[in-house]
Symmetry: C4
């Protein structure tokens, strides 16, 4: 299976099950230096740009990128582009940052409580289009309590402002993504609990679970006890860590779920991007591709010699966009330092899941090698 | 002692006790990119090519190479070459992969049990020519149980297909090679038990043992209690790990046994290739060369800057071919990443063993330095 | 806010809250080779030049730099320059070194006791201008007792010689800086206790405290129980270590306090320079900028390939000079190996503190990101 | 103080207390490749050449270098040069290797016992000229017992053959050097006991002791309880390890003792060369220079990219030659990989000791910095 894809540059390329994602030759597409040229307030000068959520809104591609401010706290910035690749117009101020007085919050919530939850920074936003609005899920660190992290919700109609709805759950967690519409009459999401904290390590990161709520804004979310996907002891590209990346994309094949996995080696802990497909009506039915979509390489962190590289050997995504023809743009951070993009196609990824799956609960391959 | 050797290119070179193996200038001879050009199925795209078993069959050189699939599981592919060096024709599908329904197995065996043993991947095949057929021994990892590894047997007449005979022993082990004919009326092999598992480390790897069976296909194998060769506390190139590499080769000098050894240093754990000679009639009588055949170097892993190198400082072999004139081709993986070849001669290696041996049980040199 | 600054070279540049410090293009400004060309006595040949205190005296800029002698002990050398940037005239002998007979000490002190305290070397001098003289605070290591370190005081009118006043406190400590004049009728200083020694690790380094004395030369210093500033568990550029750098500078905005902080990462422990502003009358009132003034980079340690780099990823300062127009010269060591300089402006740094502060006791940001 | 020195090339250079040793521009002077070109026996091919003892004998400079054989055991080879710098004529076989039948031993000794002590290799020979003969002290490792090491003695009149006299002491030890003549009527040597073995770490290496014997060939050696020199807890270039290097050289200034020291840092464990001077009549009277003679640099291990470097950041010497004019040639291994030479002068080294000493027992400097 091959699909013609392009970066909007009249240079069609082919993605296939063999090469499911093609890097954009112009990577990186956004860097700290570019943000700093716009965020002309001192507290907004940044040292990284990575792990951006992305959505199309009003004819533009909107990117909500994560940046480490110089103070060490992460915020979520916004950039808009007509083609989703070049000429990013960076919004003059962060789109989301630790909550402060004046921030819009949903009725009945305590801004003080939210602010306390977010005081250590907001990270890794996903833009989940849902009910003709955008539900933005992001990680928030408390101040003063190491590794206390909540996934928070903010809702925006136009991605120019957002209203906070507070923590999705009162539990240490990261990487929550929502399905773009109700499933079986209820809202649905994917969750990566941080499990029990052994001291202060930040959890185990070994399961993705599904949850449902009657109202995605208020919850409560009922999280499945049974993991939807997990890591396992066998050889696998996702053997040691796993978690959601981009919000599930509705395709004719089912929900496309771009996730990340880590396989520890004697030479590092490479992060790869994986993909799973969920049944449209019963997302518990999941076809998890055993084959990663992208492996990290030096091409994923093109920086000057004088610049810092935060975490070597990492590709990490919070966003995948679908064009009407099924072409997918995978936005991903390289080494927690810069933003890149790769192109793929839904037919290819769905096919990976259907034909080359692994049992999401045991890790066993579901096809004959 | 010098012997003229060549790579079939009309450029005779000399190997000697001083330089017992010469690297092929065209190394590497097989890479992941070459395999990927042939294995056009997504689940068969690979990230490494290394540790190949090799045999001559039907006028061709047949290589059974190990590759990490993208999913993280290893399979065993096949490539054929007229000259054993260049123009490798890679078979369109793996030769051995975790067993699945339809795979040929010997009567009386449970395919399900074998499949369970192999579900985590098959690795490091040796092609043992025996009784006018090929006994292929390979390591198989279970799924879900870290480091549960069995050495499995498959038999093939023509190296186009194979029939499985299941685990050689029900014990964690790697690196089993078989003698090409009966010894003293029984079949014989070399074994590297993984010893007791301290937690989950994968064993100690400090001994090579010999075993016998009336039927190499069905066993049972009786493994000697006494190690045939071992590591020792003294300074040695094999001081910290040891195990068989290529199947023993019958020569006029005795059985040639190419093995590997590791000497831990403050700067790494270099793997070298060593050689031992076993009495044709009583292989317990062993002359183990204290001198390695090959040390690792940067020339053993020529890759592009953007490519991964799995394990630095490693040469590892699963195959050594003998030409009628006694010339030996040593096929070896470099850094668990690419396949290389070096040339040697049986007279030279045998001489190394006879003249420059070390006591296989104590490590003491058997010659006067 | 922008301020025009220059390096005295008629090339005005702008510093701002976005880029509060600009590196001198001619860095490094002093190296071991330069010192060795002057210190023509064997025991004075050095292997590093770093962490210099600096003051203006008699129309010259005087630098008291730290150097590791070849014997491993640190001494404090002096260099003078007309412009504070180039053409450093290195004094032929160290200005401060472990005390010996003949050194000037204040009445009533025991030179033997002081000599014992300093026998392991003197390090990281600060030149604190006070009462029309210079109070030099420096760290002194005892010989024979690992990590026994005292901060010592020496006083000099002209920076050509100094009189010792012994240990500021009888407690393991580093990085003591004094305010240039009395505050509330008493002398004041900033202290970084080394806390309790867990075995021999050298302390925790997590707090800056303020202390007062009626006589800065004799003490006794009363150190606040309550930390003035501290590290915290939240994300921050100063999350893991903190301590004073340059002596507080009096500005119209308050006391400018250049300090250092460390944030441990999975890829190293970068030292950054931070800044705080203290109320002129009540320095307990502190505005601590959450934004560092300078991050380490490769440009901070330009050495030849054959030269040693002592500690990668470090910028560390003991001095900041103020010109009448408020321009600041920040003298800082790069990687504990060479001396560099950067330029800033008091209005910019004060503004950083006022507008972009963090609670010095909790680490919480005091502004809306 | 300056002294004119040269490498016999009519290019006089100056050494001084500032630069007590000058590297030979043609370093390295001997490499593994050169030895391999001569040692045409397989068991004698080597992977390193370092830590050579050197003496003048019969108008030639004789070097007894250490090499790792490929088998991992070290032997001691010989090379001769007319000028001590170039055109080394490597003897066709090792001069010393683990003892075997036929080796000359002194009457009354058991060759079997000596052979057992040396079976793991012989290392780091010193050529001690004494009583018109050469007493060669070298380290010998037992086989099978990790880190069991004895210093052995062999005596040679002409450095073409030697007679073994067995272990200097029955105690784990390295780096024994002998004084070239009797002192106070008895023979004298410097010893570096390995102390108690904590498990298998090889000892502490923190003291140099002096010993006396009526017969240097038979002992028994009476070793002082009191260390002659030691490491200490204070900052020092020899703070963490210490041991003799070259045999003491008689000069008009006293016995010149070239030793090595290690100062552990957060960036490695650099080995430096130090020097001490001992009273001719009472060598317990020692002036230990606090200033090293040579620090390691990249210039000390010039190897091709494909070659191994055994231990980075090391200069180590076993030999220092004196010309009648007091010029000293310091032969030293670089990174345990190649042999280098530097030039110095006895007046300069003696002056270092006299003027810039440290108390050998406490580490305290004996001069005013």
């Amino acid at each position: 299976m091959k699909r013609s894809v392009d970066f909007g540059d009249d240079r069609p390329r082919a993605v296939s099950l063999l090469e499911p994602a093609l890097r954009y030759p112009g990577n990186p597409i956004l860097t700290a230096a570019q943000v700093n040229a716009v965020w002309q307030q001192p507290h907004l000068q940044v040292v990284t740009v990575h792990n951006a959520g992305v959505a199309v809104c009003g004819g533009e591609t909107v990117m909500l990128f994560r940046s480490h401010l110089r103070c060490g706290i992460s915020v979520i910035g916004m950039a808009r582009s007509d083609n989703g690749l070049t000429d990013w117009r960076i919004a003059p101020r962060p789109f989301l940052k630790p909550a402060v007085s004046g921030d819009a919050i949903a009725p009945g919530l305590s801004l003080d409580e939210i602010a306390a939850m977010e005081a250590g920074g907001v990270e890794d936003a996903r833009i989940n289009p849902i009910d003709n609005t955008f539900a933005i899920t992001y990680s928030a660190y408390a101040a003063g309590v190491p590794n206390r992290v909540r996934v928070m919700l903010a809702v925006s109609d136009d991605l120019t402002s957002a209203t906070r709805f507070g923590p999705v759950m009162h539990r240490d967690m990261r990487n929550v993504v929502l399905f773009p519409q109700r499933v079986g009459g209820r809202y649905a999401g994917l969750f990566r609990p941080n499990d029990e904290l052994p001291g202060d390590t930040g959890g185990l990161f070994q399961q993705i679970r599904i949850g449902y709520a009657d109202d995605y804004r208020t919850g409560p979310w009922e999280i499945s006890e049974k993991p939807l996907m997990g890591t396992h002891g066998s050889p696998s590209a996702f053997a040691n860590k796993i978690g959601p990346c981009a919000p599930p994309l509705r395709t004719k094949h089912g929900w496309l779920n771009l996730f990340h996995g880590v396989r520890s080696t004697m030479d590092g802990n490479p992060y790869v991007l994986g993909v799973a497909l969920h049944d449209l009506d019963r997302p518990e039915n999941v076809w998890m591709s055993s084959i990663p979509v992208l492996f990290p390489s030096q091409a994923d962190c093109r920086v000057a010699e004088s610049e810092y590289v935060h975490v070597p050997n990492v590709v990490f995504s919070c966003a995948m966009l679908r064009r009407p023809d099924g072409v997918l743009l995978i936005y991903y951070g390289g080494n927690d330092t810069v933003m890149n993009v790769a192109v793929s196609h839904e037919d290819v990824l769905a096919e990976l899941c259907h034909r080359y799956g692994q049992d999401p609960n045991t890790g066993r391959l579901l096809y004959q090698i």
